[in-house]
């Protein structure tokens, strides 16, 4: 343990980050990669954050910082799936047995097929309820760019919905 902190940024106790942001990060991850992979991604997100935390130089937007990490973990999951042609997630499109199978809106599955940035922006905005400034900060782009990604994503889904 370093006896003298390497930065003079005042960082809150990590426990506070966990308590304040665990629920919304989990919502984002569940929407983004599904319940099963979300649990792992959640652990990986907070472990990465805890590893990097003492060296963090800017404490002004910790929420966006956490979402940035979660976003990368979700990307890893998506890329892993793209390499493995095992579309388990896509199979039970038709309910097997009675009623709800996964409990997640079919709409979210449509969002998952969007390009990375659009998908992430839509989930951050609507599953985790971030505003556009926060989405931009988490995606390392401007607020207008974040807004544009959400708009483009929604347009694509609407088109698919209308034709499907």
């Amino acid at each position: 343990m370093p006896s003298v902190r390497s930065t003079d940024v005042k960082l809150p106790p990590f426990q506070q980050l966990l308590e304040r942001h665990a629920a919304e990060l989990l919502r984002f991850l569940v929407a983004s990669v599904g319940q099963v992979d979300a649990e792992d991604a959640f652990q990986e997100t907070f472990l990465s954050a805890l590893r990097a935390y003492p060296k963090l130089r800017d404490a002004s937007n910790l929420r966006a910082w956490l979402f940035q990490i979660a976003h990368r973990k979700a990307l890893d999951v998506h890329r892993g799936r793209a390499r493995r042609p095992l579309p388990v997630e896509e199979l039970p499109e038709v309910a097997t047995g009675g009623g709800e199978t996964t409990g997640e809106p079919e709409l979210w599955r449509a969002v998952r097929r969007l390009p990375d940035k659009q998908r992430t922006a839509v989930f951050m905005r609507f599953a985790a309820d971030l505003d556009y400034a926060q989405v931009g900060a988490a995606l390392e782009c401007s607020e207008p760019a974040a807004r544009q990604n959400v708009r483009a994503g929604l347009a694509t889904i609407r088109k698919g919905w209308a034709s499907g």
Binding site: M1, P2, S3, R5, K10, L11, P12, P13, F14, Q15, Q16, L18, A22, L26, E39, F42, Q43, F46, L47, L50, R51, Y53, P54
Partner: protein, 188 residues
């Protein structure tokens, strides 16, 4: 703690990522917050101190990697339970003095840690024992700032003549601990 945060605490601990582990526990003198670093027990705090402020103080003075990891404090909790049941007369725990500023304060507290169970000393006696009988007020300040009360038994230090003096956990707590150690029947 839900299952998910418990799992996170377990993994963070296994990876050695927790610089300050804490937990909360019930005791006859109210709820206590216990915090430890890899070096040892660093903080015991009474209920009257705000949890959020305590955690912020730990983050600022030790490391921001502060996490609730109850398992890290099992031994501390066990010894405290035994103490409150009257089955433990001294603590056998590694201590981390990082939160005590200055050598004088540390010497006062280390001297206090050697006052035996069931005995008391005056502020003047403690000051004298570390070689400065005139530093009675400074000794009182050092004891008042004791970051590890109960385990470092500042409750055993009284005014000359036997008046209670002060106590961070409140005078009722101080009286309770002294009664406990004297074997007298205690009021809850």
């Amino acid at each position: 703690m839900d299952e998910r945060t418990r799992e996170f605490a377990r993994r963070a601990r296994a990876e050695g990522l927790v610089d300050v582990a804490y937990t909360e526990t019930d005791s006859p003198v109210g709820r206590l917050l216990l915090a430890a670093t890899p070096r040892g027990l660093v903080r015991v705090a009474f209920e009257r101190e705000q949890r959020d402020e305590l955690l912020e103080e730990l983050a600022e003075r030790l490391s921001p990697r502060v996490l609730e990891v109850p398992g890290e404090l099992d031994e501390v909790r066990r010894e405290l339970d035994e103490y409150f049941e009257g089955r433990r007369l001294e603590f056998d725990l590694p201590l981390d003095w990082s939160l005590t500023r200055g050598e004088f304060r540390r010497r006062i507290l280390e001297r206090t840690a050697r006052i035996p169970y069931g005995e008391t000393a005056s502020y003047r006696e403690v000051a004298t024992a570390v070689g400065n009988e005139r530093a009675v007020r400074a000794a009182g300040t050092a004891l008042g700032a004791n970051p590890i009360p109960i385990v470092v038994p500042c409750h055993r230090v009284l005014r000359t003549g036997g008046a209670l003096g002060g106590y961070g956990g409140g005078l009722d707590a101080k009286r309770y601990l002294l009664d406990l150690e004297s074997g007298r029947p205690r009021m809850a």
